[in-house]
């Protein structure tokens, strides 16, 4: 077996680290240009922290119908599909709940600000079924007071679309990772794409985890340990349980899922955090290979996830 030459580019986007790998080194610059354009469009459409984004305009519409771009309609459709496939566990109407917990600006600024004052607990989120999307007319209406957060699916959607776009235009194998939500397209290297699965996408190779190889689809990791901050007197994380409007109870520290694309992988990993103990059985029944890590570091795997490459007891 020959080793495929893979070219790499690393850059910052969406407040996180992006990694772009292509199997044709001469295509790297063009691939990066395609990714930059796509990512800029996604940010303009659905950033919760840009006052000029379409999402900000929709959240401020006070219940009025808003005409949106085709891109925004696609992103919202993906979020609503995720909600439907998880019986509402992954719900895009968590915007106000997150803001109420203090996550109302770029995460770097949330951390830099220090402890957030805790707003009144809002209770269950409004719910995805109350979002009206007319994809033909490209019109969206939210109930007054409802705020969307597409963070759970938009980053993964962008990974999928960047990968597909680069493969279609340039014909090479490609891997796009946006903060650890990764998608691949086109011919994989002969030996596949090597992925280190761990708690934090910025972790070094010495950190506990497992290295696996993928050849198609997407892989995403959700964790309750990385995007955390202090609200009032308690530590909170960003994965909201729609049933309570509060951060989901921590049954799993980290969940990584491989799926047919990155959106579906992210949908499943996020839902698994919210579903807690029932998640492993749900993932197994769905045929989704996954690695679930408990707070004590013990690991559960599902549906053909490979055996650990680390000593027993290491997460």
């Amino acid at each position: 077996m020959t080793t495929t030459t893979v070219a790499r580019d690393t850059f910052r986007v969406f407040g996180t680290t992006a990694v772009l790998l292509v199997t044709e080194p001469t295509a790297l610059a063009q691939a990066r240009a395609l990714a930059d354009a796509e990512l800029a469009a996604v940010d303009q459409a659905c950033s919760r922290f840009r006052p000029d984004s379409e999402l900000a305009a929709l959240n401020a519409a006070g219940g009025a119908a808003v005409t949106v771009s085709e891109l925004f309609a696609d992103l919202l459709a993906a979020a609503l599909r995720a909600a439907r496939l998880t019986d509402g566990d992954v719900d895009p109407t968590c915007g106000r709940a997150l803001a109420g917990l203090g996550y109302d600006r770029d995460f770097d600024q949330v951390r830099a600000r220090g402890p957030a004052s805790l707003a009144t607990v809002l209770g269950p989120v409004p719910g995805w079924r109350r979002v009206e999307l007319d994809e033909q007319a490209r019109q969206v209406r939210l109930p007054a007071g409802t705020e969307l957060d597409l963070g759970a699916t938009a980053k993964a959607w962008a990974s999928d679309h960047c990968a597909e776009l680069i493969f279609e235009r340039l014909g090479c194998g490609v891997l796009v990772s946006l903060g650890g939500d990764l998608a691949v397209a086109g011919p994989a290297p002969d030996e596949g794409w090597r992925v280190r699965v761990t708690d934090d996408h910025a972790a070094g190779p010495e950190e506990p985890g497992q290295t696996v190889t993928i050849t198609d689809g997407g892989l995403a990791t959700s964790s309750t340990t990385v995007r955390t901050w202090t609200a009032g007197s308690r530590q909170v994380h960003h994965i909201i349980d729609p049933a309570t409007g509060e951060p989901a109870p921590v049954y799993w520290r980290t969940v990584s899922v491989a799926a047919g694309n990155c959106v579906d992988a992210n949908t499943a990993s996020t839902a698994a955090i919210i579903r807690g103990q029932a998640a492993a059985g749900w993932l197994d029944d769905a045929g989704l290979p996954a690695r679930l890590v408990r707070p004590d570091g013990t690991v559960v795997t599902t549906a053909g996830w490979p055996a650990a490459d680390t000593p027993p007891g290491s997460p």
Binding site: L21, L182, V195, T225
Partner: protein, 79 residues
């Protein structure tokens, strides 16, 4: 009206009742058969919907992850 006419009328009435009963029974049998056919049709339809729902569910990868010997390592972790 003669006694013969009364018997004839009664016979015609009884024959009518038998005819109505016969067709009512046949209609009942046809109804049962139609119900069974429709039920089977819906049962097949329900199976089809379940399959479609599965197809429209979260997509599984064509190949599950393998041991980590691939190229170009990246990290999947939370942000």
């Amino acid at each position: 009206m003669s006694g013969y006419d009364r018997r004839d009328a009664a016979a015609r009435r009884d024959e009518g009742v038998r005819t109505v009963t016969k067709y009512t029974w046949r209609a009942g049998v046809i109804g049962v058969i139609c119900s069974a056919v429709i039920g089977l049709g819906f049962a097949h339809h329900a199976d089809t919907q379940t399959a479609q729902e599965r197809q429209q569910g979260i997509l599984v990868p064509n190949h599950p992850p393998g041991p980590g010997h691939g190229a170009g390592q990246v990290t999947s972790g939370a942000t």
